[in-house]
Symmetry: C2
Subunit: 598 residues, 2 copies
């Protein structure tokens, strides 16, 4: 069975040295976010994830969820108890406002804890994850009464949340949604339709389930402009704050799927269920986007989290498994063979994962800090600048961290050889679980289109220009620093390639949008390399300072950071060149074949 | 449920125009290999695979194999009947010598049929695949009596074969094998030990199972130099040619694994089982290598086959699934949305698969032709030259076709969005099935080391030099051909990069072998790109000629070939640059961390 140790120290390093704990603590409401508090929260979260959630990961995969004839769904053995511990610990409301019972802590901490949860048990982590998304949507769009009615229950975890977008005939293209909402005299609506792929749609963990449902009010326009968002609770809220009558929504079946078996992926049938409008009529998609953006960052973290836990297990196995001898001569003469970690090709895989994980973690928290600033700063310009970066980097984090996170679970499995293919070691589960993250919350191709088609041109390219200015500012400021040169110089080249790609789009995609579409995925990955490469520069700068200041074992762990960053610069960053070449090839050969030829 | 249509036409194109049917028919014994015969064999094989094997693919995955208390194993519903049809058709012995009941056809045809079998049902295809490996090993190393006793039964499929190498403590490093062989007065041996991951180790398809087992004769040296190869039949052959007493070998359990559930992956216990030595004592590994090389090519074909069937289903889905509109305006105004195949990012994925599949198929058959020449040519020099290329390209085909084949199943699944993650569409099964091909018959990292460490330097680099001479000869001969320039020029660059990488190893790896190890996987993929790029040049040349000669629909299908090859040159070949950059980075940052840091 795989193990997991929450990377508390690395997380603390990133939060303290990189994401800027001081900056965070200077925001109104976060005055109490001290190093001690951060350490305490991370340590406690790590203990919970390692001790309670990790042991349930295989169980959840093997048992899966079961739907009974009455439509009820049972989660795997131990999930209910773990969920109780999760709610008792107040983890779901970690970053929710205190007025609704939350702990009011920064997004930075919430994302850190989120990584631990997903590494330990991704299928389980989705239950609170969806609730957090519902909380975000309600906070942004619900009426004060709705907030009062639903938020405290969601924040405590007593009730859980879902998002209902997909239907059999549409996922990406929500304009095709057919679920209908019929207005009732009392101001409520009757919702009718079928939603599919609803994660956590039905289960036995919470007393009630609050579905957020996209539907079309009778007479509303076709397409996405006719979509509205509704709260449809499984049980109607009772006057006493508890649960009342059963609503006409039920789980029709559970999908049989590749992974995340511990999470119930449901077909949900709405049969004239009572629902209440959130936000304005026909503005449902905009309201849902709040939830989706939150969710996209969360899914990016899933990719990172799976890569981290897969890495940990692969590294441990590579240190134990004996086969052959080192290429440069016997390293462990007392053993019948050397452990495979002495093999450069095994190291290559381990270092690739590690170089990605450490920079990915930094990037997630760097964006989470921007999110905190966007919500809390008293300076409107600063809020906007931070919000720009969150918007720009959300598709990059979602797309790149899940694509590469999945690839890393495959590499980690590879290190186990045949044993990686066998269920008992758990490595193949990581691959199957991680796979979904590339698909849901907008398939990664959609992320790439969002980046290229929406985020780049928005506000005259303001967000992108600010990002370029920040990265090239760093490069300029540190160009003369010989110690940082191994990180800065390759980044400068990759940034130049990203800028060339951007320029190429400006010159070639306005006249032919297919030139942007055909290069969008490569652009997203090129962007990801630059963002991660920039994180490595920040990490290297911080590590240099920290190593110089000494401290227990600081020199060793900082030396490891510096070496890992060097690997990133030498081995991963060069892929930027290939991405640029592909982008510049344009759409011609991609689109050359007539449809009938396929 | 996924569909499959055997690419009979493309296979014929490759065999006729590329692999050189005339060259094949000129070899002694292959005089009757005419275009008509090729067409008939392919059409018949395609019909069998589409009609009999494809419908059993999901069944095999869902049901899996079951071991009973008596150690017997039942295969999924329908497998037994399909196996009978397979043997009735004489498919197992397609390329086996006529003297043992085979059809004596070329390896080129056997590999073509092999692709169809794997695409239709990879788990099923492994049963005959392992038998073919056993046939190859016995043909090369068994005594005339052993051949007479076993080969006719294996060739007909009445008996099946396995290879037993791996043990719990060793897979890659066979020097650690512990299974023992005790010599008996009658010349036989008693075999004792445990083997794991034995594909087709026990099942109900054949009357008898012939295990080829690596074991150590008592008193033999430690390490690989003390290994011998034994025939250990499940039932001892009876005097009448049927099966006699049960041998002391049994299936202890079936592994629960990620995919290929239709194939029984067994723990095999040898409890003083009677075995007979093949080849000389302590030369077992060399004998096993014959089987392994054959098997490695076969596994490469599995990667290609999974990519092909996944592509076919993704293309069909992309033509049907409606979402959004084309970036350049509505393409199907009568539909509520355009099919997603109009999206450049979807095309990018489809074209990547297609460009890989068509060139991969050509490469497999190009090498299969060399294999036929190596076995049949009357010119010793030509035999050797052909055998050199088979040896050089075997690890490339195994490593690259399975890595990329797997990646393509993932891309095909991605095109299905959420529906790709659900079992019923079968796309996730392709991913799970394809995954093993990167691992077994030598994990791909071992293929890369075999290429760099053994195949490059062998005979003073003779094979490599011949390969370079052939490719650069083509480039030189066609450098002035403007129509071929889009294929030839990018290949020339990639070849230059491969040559630079080779030179870099010569200059930097002799003094530090880790520089070769750290770059080996990148080198293998760089080599693969050049080999596939060369295939595209040959395909483009043939397609040009064929389009000019006209014929029914030839112009269209050849135009599609030319466009697909262009995509390969513009979009896939540029990865060569990144591989070279990684290789030249050397081992320093890869090996920088002390083992304790992991």
């Amino acid at each position: 069975m795989p193990n997991y140790r929450a990377p508390v120290q690395d997380m603390q390093f990133v939060i303290t040295e990189l994401a800027g704990l001081e900056r965070l603590a200077a925001l109104p409401g976060y005055e109490e976010v001290t190093p001690d508090l951060v350490e305490a929260v991370l340590a406690e979260a790590g203990k919970f994830c390692e001790g309670v959630l990790t042991p349930l990961n295989r169980v959840g995969d093997k048992e899966g969820c079961h739907r009974h004839d009455d439509g009820s769904v049972t989660t795997p053995t131990g999930f209910k108890d773990a969920y109780k511990k999760l709610t008792d610990g107040g983890w779901i409301g970690l970053s929710a406002p205190a007025e609704f019972g939350g702990q009011g802590l920064p997004a930075v901490l919430a994302q850190a804890v989120n990584e631990f949860l997903c590494s330990a048990n991704m299928a389980f982590g989705m239950y609170p994850g969806l609730t957090q998304g519902a909380i975000a949507a309600l906070l942004a769009h619900a009426t004060p009464e709705q907030k009062k009615l639903y938020l405290p229950k969601l924040v405590s975890g007593q009730w859980s949340g879902t998002m209902n977008l997909t239907e059999p005939q549409c996922g990406t293209d929500l304009g095709l949604v057919r679920t209908r909402a019929a207005p009732q005299p009392d101001g409520s609506y009757k919702i009718t339709g079928t939603k599919i792929f609803i994660s956590a749609g039905e289960h036995d963990l919470a007393e009630n389930i609050v579905h957020l449902v996209l539907a079309r009010i009778e007479g509303a326009p076709e397409g996405t402009r006719g979509l509205s968002l509704f709260i449809v609770p499984k049980f109607l809220p009772a006057a006493d704050g508890g649960v009342g009558a059963r609503n006409a929504v039920s789980c029709g079946s559970i999908e049989e799927k590749m992974g995340i078996h511990g999470n119930a992926t449901c077909v949900m049938n709405y049969d004239g269920a009572s629902g209440w409008l959130i936000a304005e009529p026909n503005r449902g998609l905009q309201a849902m986007f709040v939830m989706m953006n939150e969710a996209r960052l969360g899914v990016g973290v899933q990719g990172l989290a799976m890569s981290e836990v897969a890495y940990q297990n692969a590294a441990a196995y590579a240190k134990e498994r004996l086969a052959g001898r080192a290429l440069t001569g016997v390293k462990f003469p007392q053993k019948p063979a050397d452990p495979i970690i002495v093999q450069p090709d095994v190291r290559r895989m381990l270092m690739s994962m590690r170089a990605f994980n450490e920079a990915g973690r930094a990037l997630v928290l760097w964006v989470a800090l921007k999110s905190d600033i966007a919500h809390r700063s008293q300076d409107a310009k600063e809020r906007q600048a931070a919000d720009d970066q969150v918007g720009l980097l959300t598709p990059v984090i979602k797309g790149v961290l899940t694509d590469q996170g999945f690839a890393n679970t495959v590499a980690a499995q590879q290190i186990f050889g045949g044993h990686g293919y066998i269920a008992e070691h758990g490595m193949e589960q990581f691959v199957r679980d991680a796979r979904i993250a590339m698909i849901y919350e907008g398939a990664n191709g959609i992320q790439a289109l969002d980046l290229v088609g929406r985020k780049l041109p928005r506000d005259g390219g303001r967000a992108l220009q600010a990002f370029f200015a920040e990265v090239s500012g760093f490069i300029k400021d540190h160009g003369a620093d010989a110690e940082l040169a191994p990180y800065v110089k390759p980044l400068a080249q990759a940034l130049g390639e990203l800028q060339q790609a951007t320029m190429w789009f400006m010159q070639n995609a306005l006249g032919n949008l297919e030139n942007a579409g055909a290069g969008s995925t490569d652009y997203m990955h090129l962007f990801g390399l630059v963002a991660l490469g920039y994180m490595w520069c920040l990490i290297a700068e911080a590590a240099k300072a920290k190593a110089a200041n000494g401290g227990n074992g600081a020199a060793d762990s900082m030396a490891a950071k510096l070496a890992t960053g060097r690997f990133f610069a030498e081995r991963l960053l060069p892929a930027a060149t290939t991405h640029l070449a592909r982008i510049k090839a344009g759409a011609a050969s991609t689109m050359a074949l007539p449809i009938e030829a396929f």
